[in-house]
């Protein structure tokens, strides 16, 4: 019997990552091309398909052995219809990207949003292996979330499940991009950490202060950075405890560049979470850093094919 191979496609704002992945998680080929959404979704689909086919040929992957393709992208979408309703990054509105890619590839296509496929990737091959209920939270420009239950993404009815970035944790807090106040995203994203540290007077080494740098300065004894980090972790723990009291996960995976801070993030977060969540919830839940980095999306996208 021929081994099944999935094509994973992770459409980011800058690059489209492509990987051929076996059912056991082995990556047999991967690469990327620049994202150029301005040329329109039809052209985009043809270019991705052309690149994927060339990549397969170069790596002796028989195209007929490719079971299907999974696609992750930052968008509001109708997963069942394969329809992108709105992708601010890609400037796509009401685009039947599932059908376009399926026609271009000659394969069936499954899709999901970027936070969900990243969560699925981490549960499949990364920090959440064997998790029964996993909550994956990505700290970046915003705070993204994905829920994986028994190895499958919990999407909810309109692929909006896991939006932990937009739960209110601070009453009468800052206005969020979503139009609400006090969202976790306004307090615990990498962007928020940097903004709050700057507002408090922190000056970095380089022009662009990064979240990782705020952590480093805090470790070096900078009090402004320490306060900003403590505040970010305080609200993150509250948000995670809310998510955990609702979902009772065995694993919470923290992803995003700020994970580079290592124990300086994870240890105080675990301590705060043990205080904030219900005892029976916190004691059956481990908070772990993501391990797949920027590979989580493309691997999770491939995993969609095997579900």
């Amino acid at each position: 019997m021929t081994e099944r191979v999935a094509l994973g496609i992770d459409v980011g704002g800058t690059n489209v990552k492509v990987a051929f992945v076996k059912e056991d998680g082995t990556v047999i080929a991967q690469g990327s091309i620049p994202t150029d959404p301005a040329r329109g979704p039809e052209r985009f689909s043809l270019e991705v398909a052309e690149y994927a086919k060339a990549l397969a040929q170069k790596n002796d992957i028989v195209w007929d052995s490719v079971t299907g393709a999974g696609v992750g992208l930052a968008a509001f979408m109708d997963v069942d219809k394969g329809w992108v309703e709105e992708s601010v990054n890609l400037h796509w509105y009401n685009v039947p990207i599932g059908d376009l890619l399926s026609n271009a590839l000659g394969k069936s296509v499954r899709m999901d949003n970027d936070a969900n496929v990243a969560a699925l990737g981490e549960v499949w091959l990364g920090a959440g292996r064997d998790a029964r209920t996993a909550l994956c939270v990505t700290l970046g420009t915003g705070v993204g979330g994905g829920i994986v239950i028994d190895g499958r993404i919990h999407r909810g009815v309109s692929t909006m499940a896991g939006e932990i970035g937009h739960i209110q944790v601070k009453n009468d807090g800052e206005l969020c991009n979503c139009g609400h106040h006090g969202c976790l995203e306004t307090l615990s994203s990498a962007t928020a950490l940097v903004r709050h540290a700057k507002e408090a007077g922190l000056v970095g080494q380089s022009e662009e202060l990064t979240a990782k740098e705020v952590f480093d300065l805090a470790a070096d004894g900078n009090e402004i950075a320490q306060v900003a980090v403590a505040d970010m972790i305080h609200w993150l723990s509250l948000g995670l405890s809310i998510g955990a009291n609702l979902l009772n996960p065995d694993v919470i995976i923290i992803a995003g560049g700020v994970v580079g801070a290592g124990d300086a993030l994870i240890e105080p977060l675990r301590a705060a979470f043990a205080r904030d969540a219900l005892v029976r919830v916190s004691r059956s839940c481990t908070i772990v850093p993501a391990t797949l980095g920027s590979q989580a999306g493309v691997l999770g996208a491939a995993r969609l094919v095997f579900q």
Copy 2:
């Protein structure tokens, strides 16, 4: 082929409800006996089994046609082991109630906590029929919650999922029984509504002011009652929006005696929820009152057998 019949057992603080239910949801016999946990779990199990067998006989239900039993009770438990770890109501600690009941009945037994079986009952036969993702919130002495995804209870890893009563919605709020501050339970339970109304000076007709009475007084123009009701709905909406942004349910079911207030509760709650939740979450979600009342638990318990 003989039709399958499930035995549902709902162990409340006052009564044990028992029902024989067909796979299509038809109740073919039901009754109840007083709960007497003081006599110990072995005696309790034998008495419940004796009562169930007599009830079956009286209603011409062939005992061999009973596929199994489902049990709901207010407890922390290990569902897989059939073990009650702690039930404050019943004064049971580390009791293998699953095995005890199974031996007494001569049937396999499945169990879950009261909030979960009530949610399952409402999704099976009540307000949440055909829901893909349902969040059921019971407003009583506390605030209980249950999550049903694709017709099955989402328990999480230690049967704690759905604890929406213990998510913090008010920063630095009142101390809750769970040891944390500002839990939804301290703001939106029936008990909290009554307590807050009394603290604000509301006096009821009878000795014991009920939540329903606070709603009635608000409808009659009593300003203290109106403020208390508005405050309760404000926090409830915030809690539901947090739950909905995480779970993206198609249905939120509100249960408990306070549902008797009807539109005076549901209409302003829907309006607040439409403001508080993400647009794509609120527009794909309906808030509905529970329809099964105190029957939800025993029906949901029976449903466990067919899963």
